[in-house]
Subunit: 229 residues, 2 copies
């Protein structure tokens, strides 16, 4: 059989597709680099040309998911009829809808990424998503600043701060996962939901808009995601 | 020689003293658990009774330093003449003074904790300090809320958020360390200083006080700490 020479970007995309499928089918821990190589039909060298480790491919998947999420809201990002608060809220509402559609996959991914021994993985995955979201959010904030809607000294730092602040909910998410199916489950979900509401108010204030301007959660959202099977 | 039986807390304190001395003399990386055992004159079993690893003893040192820092400001914490903003600012000013006094030790510790490969260590050390600071800060914020000085939904979550937000400066600190003695050093220090100022404004806003109410840095402070030899 003649060897098919593919463009490196296509190969990379195929490796990501195969890894994603295997991670969801078998779980991240149970998938080996060898499984990914076999499924993608590439050589070991071909894999390592693109990714140094299984953690690195997961971080790359997180980046790709974030890029796809941005791609799916580009109509909102470009809508001239929205001010910066409206744009952010439309973006957040759409993201919640997509998250609800993928709730069971998302919940399964949380099970891996929020495990205490996977804290390094969590930070890599998180950093990969943040790197994609940062310029998008910084642009919306800069636009809001020039509209006089947001009051921030520096849009870039404000965007970094807002994204970093979200990682402050890590422990509350981990507690929900630990408490799943126990008698503490409801209380843990309620605590996480309260944490998200506080996060929203903190972001409102950092951006200089009234409390409650930006909507990060809506009633039932946290529970729907965290109890998805 | 008769075996001296010491109270476990005293042994633990001695192990921490010896580890701290060795970490500052030789550096954290160059110190082994064996070095600590030899200096403290305890058995291997005696060490592992208290600490599971070298990382764990460093986290315990971070907790002890935070406890000592709180102990040294307890006059400020108890001063009935201060409102919550005054109390926080007095606390911050005193902390800066102590940090300047210990600048070269602090800077040496940063060199270890902010190394990219030590990210887990950073999070452990940081979590240990946060655990000590959290109840202290939550009490000041609760007091400020009942005085009507701070406007927050929940003092405990506000304290968690404020402490978590500080870890958002991690990358900016790491960049200063990486740029040390290079032509980028000044720009990196200036960027970190700007980050700290933004952090101060974010905290002001989260607590519902006017921008500039709380003073986390003062001119020259960041440079003095980050260039200490």
């Amino acid at each position: 059989m003649p060897r098919v020479v593919k463009h490196p970007d296509i190969r990379r995309g195929e490796l990501l597709d195969c890894a994603q499928a295997l991670f969801f089918e078998r779980g991240y821990e149970a998938t080996t680099i060898n499984d990914i190589i076999l499924k993608a039909g590439v050589s070991k060298g071909g894999f390592y040309h693109h990714f140094a480790s299984k953690e690195e491919i997961l971080a790359a998947l997180a980046a790709r998911l974030a890029e796809q999420a941005v791609e799916r809201v580009k109509d909102i990002l470009a809508d001239p009829g929205l001010d910066a608060v409206g744009r952010l809220n439309a973006f957040l509402a759409r993201s919640r809808r997509y998250k609800l559609e993928d709730a069971s996959k998302l919940r399964a991914a949380f099970d891996v990424v929020f495990r205490p021994e996977n804290i390094v993985l969590y930070h890599r995955v998180n950093a990969a998503s943040i790197a994609v979201m940062l310029p998008v959010l910084a642009r919306i904030i800069a636009e809001g600043k020039s509209e006089g809607v947001f009051d921030v000294p520096d849009p870039e730092t404000a965007a970094e701060t807002v994204l970093h602040l979200a990682t402050g909910t890590h422990d509350a998410v981990a507690r929900v996962i630990r408490a799943a199916d126990s008698s503490d489950a409801d209380a843990a979900i309620e605590a996480l939901d309260a944490r998200f509401r506080f996060y929203g108010i903190a972001v409102d204030r950092i951006l200089g808009v009234p409390d409650g301007s930006l909507q990060f959660v809506e009633p039932g959202f946290t529970r729907a995601i965290m109890t998805a099977k």
